[in-house]
């Protein structure tokens, strides 16, 4: 069964000044148990799509089903399957951490005794139990993000939707959040993630959709998408050289007297690079990717899309 089915979803925002077509017919399927990334630049339609799925935004037309429940006919059943972690902090800043999560469980029909047990479980898992009696406004940005994840888990949803959950979170906490999300996914919870950290999507997600200007550009699995990237840039750290080496047949840059950046097409591989450097007496000490691969691909797809848009 699909955790999420979206068919020809459209949303037009109308005001006195202007009309904005935020979604122009989005069609998307997310399988049960998937870890799915929804990527796109700012204003692409990610948050509008999530808003419609979670009933915060009224759609203009189209169909949305959550675990088979149509949001038009079975809205409450559809909602009860979803846990939402929005982009912006949307809890009462004057309430305590415990009040926020326990009340949220209540809205889903979870009795108070069970809600307190779950609050302890999830707040401990996400390292906020010590802060349970603190007012939300006193928490750091990272703690507030974790609070929203714990809140979304209180009714133990089958589908967890996170809209940029790690924005503004330091690396250590981000990694612990990744670990937590991976554990949830391993327990069978379907996860949909939007993020600006493409490394995050590449590391966590199996399937991906790229949305831009209200339309889905790519919808495939991560492996297939990354295979489209046929040139990778490597940074080679070498022993210091007096004479800059030359790599025939490759685009390359000498950064300093012990660093070379080289673009390597997939069909050529790295062997010719090493052979040429060895012939010129340059010894490679270490090597790494210049940029996140998905990021490169994403930037390229966006540029192609922009060029296509301009020519049409």
């Amino acid at each position: 069964m699909n955790a999420l089915e979206i068919v020809d979803l459209k949303k037009t925002y109308q005001s006195k000044e202007r009309t904005v077509e935020a979604l122009k017919g989005v069609t998307l399927n997310v399988e049960e148990g998937d870890f799915f990334a929804l990527l796109g630049p700012n204003g692409a339609g990610k948050s509008t799509t999530i808003g419609i799925i979670s009933a915060l935004v009224n759609k203009t037309s189209g169909k949305v089903k959550v675990f088979g429940y149509d949001v038009d006919t079975d809205l409450e059943l559809a909602k009860s399957q979803i846990g939402l972690v929005p982009q912006e902090f949307n809890f009462n800043q004057f309430e305590t951490v415990l009040q926020i999560v326990v009340n949220q469980a209540g809205y889903y029909g979870v009795d108070r005794k069970t809600a307190f047990q779950r609050a302890e479980k999830y707040l401990k898992q996400i390292d906020l139990w010590e802060k349970r009696d603190a007012r939300a406004r006193t928490l750091s940005g990272g703690m507030k993000r974790r609070l929203m994840i714990a809140r979304a888990m209180m009714h133990e949803p089958k589908l967890l939707i996170l809209d940029e959950p790690t924005a503004g979170v330091d690396i250590e906490i981000r990694r612990s959040m990744w670990e937590f999300l991976t554990q949830l996914n391993e327990q069978g919870i379907t996860i949909i993630l939007t993020t600006h950290y493409l490394e995050e999507a590449e590391m966590l997600c199996r399937n991906i959709a790229i949305i831009d200007k209200g339309e889905i550009g790519e919808n495939t699995n991560m492996k297939t998408l990354l295979s489209k990237l046929n040139v990778e840039t490597f940074i080679l750290d070498t022993q210091a050289f007096d004479k800059p080496p030359v790599l025939e047949g490759f685009e390359f840059t000498i950064t300093d007297n012990h660093t070379i950046e080289v673009d390597v097409p997939k069909e050529q591989g790295l062997n010719p690079v090493f052979s040429q450097l060895t012939e010129q007496g340059v010894q490679v000490l270490s090597m790494r990717n210049k940029a996140n691969r998905l990021e490169e691909l994403f930037v390229r797809l966006m540029e192609e899309n922009k060029a296509g848009g301009q020519s049409s």
Partner: protein
């Protein structure tokens, strides 16, 4: 099937926790204001007025002053709480949950009613320091105070739905609610007014609430009790229907 009573209980707990947390702003001011009313209008000036409607002036104004506190506190509780939930966006906690809209309305309105009733109780206790409270019909008393608290909680909710700034939730109380309350027969019997103004006063819904409540205490009313209950009921039904329509449409809360 979802258990909506748990959801309703959760909203009520959230609402009560809110106004009890800020008790210095919500519960103390009405007690102080009403003490001043009792001292100035009741003891100092009231003693020179003599009787009103066949009762000692202090005894006459007590029901109206209790009702005034219930009205303003029920209204302002829901207006500020719901607007704040919109402003901080924590209303989304309820919108994403499988909670029917009538539970959202009943939850916020219930919170407003509870604050109104609690303040009403506090003001009654304060009044007992100044006058011997007598109760003529406890049933009329309870029904009137519950329905009035509900009407003004609903009105506060409707105000908050349309409000875009904090100013928008103070305009109606200042320019509509306060004049209507003061002209609603809290401090005087309508029979003191010229005939024309007695007729105009019949258009003021607060007249019916204050008089029905006064009947519960003293057994006297300037208006027919059946008609008063019909009017209050009409406001309950009308405001509830309007509030449901606005929330169902998502006005001010869904884009």
């Amino acid at each position: 099937m979802m258990n909506y009573s748990i959801a309703l209980k959760s909203v009520l707990i959230k609402e009560c926790t809110r106004f009890l947390r800020i008790w210095v702003q919500t519960l103390v001011p009405p007690a102080i204001t009403m003490t001043l009313y009792f001292v100035i209008f009741g003891s100092l000036i009231g003693s020179r007025i003599g009787e009103m409607g066949g009762f000692d002036y202090m005894a006459f104004i007590v029901p109206g002053l209790i009702m005034m506190s219930v009205i303003t506190n029920s209204y302002s509780n829901v207006a500020s709480s719901f607007f704040s939930a919109k402003f901080q966006r924590n209303i989304e906690e309820l919108l994403v949950a499988p909670v029917p809209n009538y539970i959202i309305v009943l939850g916020y309105v219930g919170g407003g009613m509870l604050r109104g009733l609690l303040v009403g109780l506090i003001v009654t206790l304060v009044a007992m320091l100044f006058v011997d409270i007598q109760i003529h019909n406890v049933f009329v008393l309870i029904i009137t105070v519950l329905m009035t608290a509900m009407v003004f909680s609903l009105a506060g909710l409707i105000n908050a739905v349309f409000a875009n700034t904090f100013d928008d939730i103070s305009i109606i109380p200042t320019f509509v609610l306060t004049p209507l309350t003061y002209l609603g027969g809290v401090f005087y019997s309508l029979s003191l007014l010229p005939e024309f103004w007695q007729g105009v006063s019949q258009l003021n819904p607060i007249v019916y609430m204050v008089n029905a409540f006064r009947y519960g205490f003293l057994g006297v009313s300037d208006v027919d009790l059946t008609f008063a209950f019909a009017m209050i009921s009409a406001f309950v039904v009308g405001f509830f229907s309007l509030a449901m329509y606005l929330i169902n449409k998502g006005i001010g809360i869904r884009s």
